[in-house]
């Protein structure tokens, strides 16, 4: 059973790496978008596992993007290094903010993270000299000179890295800390779990991932602006993907990103106007009828049968 599992993973991995060889430029660009949102979705889910609903995804994505473009354009940092620095800046800001806001819970935490994302965008809009203000900022030397195959491999690498981190969170003591915090904080702390430490740690790691994705995304186009970079897209799509695929797992957000990513492209071709309506209907139907998501429902079905 284990060998089958690892062979399947290996095959999928080879297929993912070799994908650009067999497909056209259009499909590669779709795949890049899917990988981008998949990584955001997974990072959002990793925070959700602690019981904290974060709406800050788009904010840290935007921070990473702006950091990368600014240091490349003004300080001449090369694009690859700028992606790492983008992640580090997002992570450091998450650390400082997390110390302040991770005392909050539930809806209060959620609404504060949402507000913070807007605050980032307002600040950036008003720092004309550094950020270019409302019209945004351009960097002329872009990542891999628009070579979409290389960009695909970069995004795949970031996605795989995030998958590995997510699985580490699932297989180490972090899993027990995070799940006990979500279930019952009083029980967790009475049994030695340092709740605040784990919340900060997960918040910083996931924000860093969001910063890296934002930086890599901005570097592909060499452009950031307050509207496009802090768009609610980078918050709402990842959340819908995780819900459709199944929350609290690594595979769920991956499955959700592929389903919603492919169907949105297909719907766009089918009906250029109004495809978002169908898209919305899909999400509503999934939440209503299979609240555990596609992967979650299948997993629970299999384990039910096994225990019978």
């Amino acid at each position: 059973m284990k060998t089958i599992k690892y062979s399947v993973i290996l095959l999928l991995l080879i297929a993912a790496v070799l994908l650009p060889v067999f497909t056209d430029a259009y499909f590669i660009s779709v795949a890049i978008t899917i990988l981008t949102f998949m990584t955001l979705s997974l990072s959002w889910d990793m925070m959700l596992r602690t019981g904290q609903l974060s709406f800050g995804t788009a904010g840290f994505f935007g921070l990473g993007g702006y950091t990368a473009v600014i240091i490349s354009a003004d300080l001449g940092v090369d694009p690859y290094t700028s992606i790492i620095i983008g992640g580090l800046v997002a992570g450091s800001i998450a650390l400082v903010l997390g110390i302040a806001i991770l005392k909050l819970r539930e809806i209060y935490f959620a609404i504060t993270t949402l507000a913070l994302a807007s605050v980032f965008s307002v600040i950036i809009r008003n720092l004309h000299k550094i950020t270019g203000g409302p019209s945004g900022k351009i960097v002329y030397q872009t990542l891999f000179d628009y070579d979409s195959t290389k960009i695909y491999w970069l995004m795949l690498g970031i996605a795989l890295g995030t998958i590995v981190i997510s699985e580490l969170f699932k297989r180490t003591r972090i899993h027990f800390a995070v799940d006990s915090i979500r279930a019952d904080e009083v029980v967790a702390k009475s049994h030695g779990v340092d709740i605040f430490k784990y919340l900060i740690f997960v918040f910083v790691v996931t924000s860093m991932i969001q910063g890296v994705v934002g930086a890599a995304y901005a570097q592909q186009y060499g452009f950031v602006s307050p509207e496009s970079t802090f768009s609610a897209h980078y918050l709402l799509l990842p959340i819908s993907m995780a819900l459709v695929g199944g929350i609290y797992s690594t595979i769920g957000p991956i499955v959700g990103a592929i389903i919603l990513g492919l169907s949105s492209e297909y719907l766009k071709l089918m009906m250029p106007y109004g495809h978002l309506i169908i898209y919305g209907v899909i999400i509503v139907l999934v939440v209503l009828f299979i609240p555990r998501g596609v992967y979650g429902t299948i997993r629970d079905f299999i384990s039910e049968r096994k225990h019978r």
Partner: protein, 239 residues
């Protein structure tokens, strides 16, 4: 008396309600102490103050000569203070053995493998089976045992058992009494909060009686249970 825990003049109020009023007590190393009193006497609040779920308004708590009054809950656990909850609180997103592992992983900093082995060992010692089932298919007794096993896994020096016997039938109670005895014999000091008086009579060497947040009596159960003020606290002034 060589004491493991000293509570000194502790007061806790919630708004205008004084839940614990100027309480001082010592728990001796290695004893089984009973904490009794009518509903609302402040027994659970006192446990919450000692384990750090609530902060005291006044007074000091000293554990093994260390002032822990201002220490957060998880650090008190790591020092060796464990407790169960009156209304059992299983972690519903985990299996039986995973619940117990939480205690071992964070109360005592074991590795995953060690924590699992330790958890399995504790479960078999107290007769908890079906380790890999989720809690929703488990009996009341098993949920009570999870509470106990999870607290034991933190490797405590002092354990508070908050009504672990309530809701159990006679065989199960007997089972639980033996478990508590074995626990004490392994070197853990036990403070047991209980409404089942036969259990208190059988297990404890000493009881402390709380009423309306104050200590009204202290001593062996046989003596204390005869005192007029204790009887009237339970049954009312006319009894």
């Amino acid at each position: 008396m060589d004491s493991i825990l000293k509570v000194q003049n502790v007061t806790k109020h919630f708004g205008g309600l004084v839940a614990v009023n100027n309480v001082s007590l010592d728990i001796a190393k290695g004893e089984i102490l009973g904490l009794i009193g009518p509903n609302g006497a402040g027994k659970t609040t006192l446990t919450n103050l000692i384990s750090g779920i609530h902060w005291v308004n006044e007074g000091k708590i000293i554990f093994e000569d260390k002032d822990i009054t201002l220490l957060p809950t998880h650090k008190r656990c790591r020092l060796g203070i464990a407790r169960t909850f009156q209304i059992a609180r299983p972690l519903k997103n985990m299996t039986v053995v995973e619940n117990v592992m939480v205690g071992g992983l964070f109360g005592e900093k074991r590795t995953l493998r060690q924590a699992r082995m330790e958890a399995e060992e504790i479960c078999s010692r107290i007769g908890l089976e079906k380790l890999d089932t989720h809690f929703d298919k488990i009996t009341v007794l098993d949920i009570k045992k999870i509470e106990l096993a999870r607290a034991m896994a933190t490797n405590p020096r002092l354990i508070f058992l908050d009504e672990v016997m309530s809701g159990l039938n006679m065989d199960e109670t007997r089972d639980m009494i033996n478990t508590v005895r074995k626990l004490r014999d392994s070197g853990v000091t036990v403070c047991i909060i209980e409404h089942v008086m036969s259990v208190i009579r059988e297990l404890t060497e000493r009881v402390i009686v709380l009423d309306r947040g104050e200590i009204i009596a202290e001593g062996p159960y046989s003596e204390v249970s005869m005192q007029h003020n204790v009887i009237s606290a339970y049954l009312g002034e006319d009894a």
